[in-house]
């Protein structure tokens, strides 16, 4: 059951991407696409899913959408305004530093979500990740603090909250 569910999850993800991508609602597209998605699901299921999925995992999807909305409207906008100010100012007040930021999520998906969010906001880039000791090394354009705990507050605390809820 759990196995079937994993296949179904991959299939649905692929198929929805496919439907949006081809933007067509003709039967030709839908039928051939379902066959293709089935093939893809069989091929990549082992690559993608490592744990057993449950029906209740749908809740996580809702968080993902919520997170996407938050991320695009709040976090990104704030960071973009900052970088625009820096680049366009005459003297470019930057204080670059590589700081250590701990993280606590367990799965690699959660870790990737946090790291991706950090990198995708201008001003912070993950340079190196230590998966054993659970640290990111983040290059921070306008570093204000260097201690790991406080840097985490500034950089990744919000992302991690969501990540915890989405991927556990």
């Amino acid at each position: 059951m759990g196995r079937l569910l994993s296949y179904l999850a991959v299939f649905l993800m692929t198929y929805s991407f496919y439907v949006v991508f081809s933007g067509a609602t003709s039967l030709f597209t839908l039928v051939l696409g379902s066959v293709g998605s089935l093939v893809v699901a069989v091929l990549v299921k082992n690559l993608l899913v490592s744990r057993k999925l449950k029906i209740s995992d749908i809740r996580r999807l809702a968080y993902l959408v919520l997170y996407y909305a938050y991320y695009m409207t709040v976090a990104e906008v704030r960071a973009h305004v900052d970088i625009a100010k820096i680049v366009l100012s005459r003297k470019m007040k930057i204080s670059p530093a590589i700081v250590k930021v701990p993280y606590y999520v367990e799965t690699s998906y959660g870790m990737t979500l946090i790291a991706g969010s950090i990198t995708n906001t201008p001003g912070t880039v993950v340079v190196q990740v230590d998966t054993n000791r659970k640290h990111f090394y983040v290059h921070w354009l306008t570093a204000r603090v260097f201690e790991p705990a406080r840097a985490r507050e500034e950089i990744s605390a919000v992302f991690e909250n969501y990540s915890q809820k989405i991927f556990g």
Binding site: F21, V44, L47
Partner: protein
């Protein structure tokens, strides 16, 4: 700069000056004419033309129609050139043995996970481009190269071992590739065989009904045209290209020692 370089530079300069002169002096007419060449207009008018089906490929996309139907022979042999080159690479490194467990670290965990998520999306995008080849821009080769680059990407981001362990060993890729190529070959002579069996005349690479050849591929699938052979060609070509290119890449990136022990010293003679 020695004399040889000067000579080469001079002759190349001469050549490009001549070429530029021919182009600019109107040897080819205006560079972008207002009037389409007649042949091109014929292609566009007949590529999807149910009113004159004997000259039509029943495909909305003119480029795919030309590639696989009007000039199907070119493309068949283009595929064979690719086949020759890939088998040629296999010949150069013949006798290698894939070793697993040699190691290879791959890139960081973040890149690995991201690529993992990307994998099904790129795969399905490639498949979509391949099966819509006769409706929107794209086609078998385009879709196939999407998938091939994905496999290359996987072998770079993780490691060669990873890809081999997940079942994409070279012999399996070779099998898939042969299936794809034989599919292309079978599609190209399918209607000829049908014609031979039913006793009517038919052409090699025939697609729709032609003058004096009344057999035809199915023109519609559900609510969209299939372009007859084009759909099959696209699917098989995508399979052949994807597996073939990744096969060549995997063979090229074999480690030195894997090939070294396969060298058959003394196979040649002076």
């Amino acid at each position: 700069m020695n004399a040889r370089e000067v000579a080469i530079a001079t002759s190349i300069t001469l050549m490009i000056v001549l070429l530029a002169y021919v182009i600019e002096a109107g040897g080819l007419g205006p560079i972008a004419p207002e009037k389409l060449r007649e042949l091109a207009a014929s292609y566009i008018i007949s590529t999807y033309n149910p009113w004159n089906i004997t000259h039509s490929a029943q495909s909305l996309e003119a480029v795919t129609a030309i590639v696989w139907d009007y000039r199907g022979l070119d493309t068949f042999f283009e595929t064979s050139v690719l086949f020759i080159s890939i088998v040629g690479v296999a010949l150069l490194f013949r006798g290698y043995r894939e070793k697993t467990g040699v190691g290879g670290r791959g890139l960081s965990e973040i890149v690995k996970t991201s690529t993992k998520i990307l994998a099904p999306l790129i795969l399905i995008a490639g498949i979509s481009i391949a099966i819509h080849g006769h409706l929107t821009p794209g086609g078998g080769f385009q879709g196939g190269s999407f998938i091939a680059v994905l496999l290359v990407l996987l072998s770079v981001v993780f490691s060669l071992d990873f890809v081999v362990e997940r079942g994409l060993s070279t012999s399996r890729l070779l099998t898939l590739r042969s299936i794809g190529l034989m599919g292309v070959f079978a599609t190209s002579i399918a209607l000829l065989l049908v014609g031979l069996v039913t006793g009517v005349s038919a052409y090699v690479f025939q697609n729709m009904v032609r003058e004096g050849a009344p057999v035809s591929m199915p023109p519609w699938f559900l609510d969209r045209p299939t372009g007859g052979t084009l759909l099959f060609f696209n699917v098989f070509e995508a399979l052949a290209v994807a597996t073939g290119l990744s096969l060549a890449f995997i063979v090229l990136s074999l480690r030195r020692e894997e090939v070294e022990e396969a060298l058959e010293r003394g196979e040649w003679y002076e």
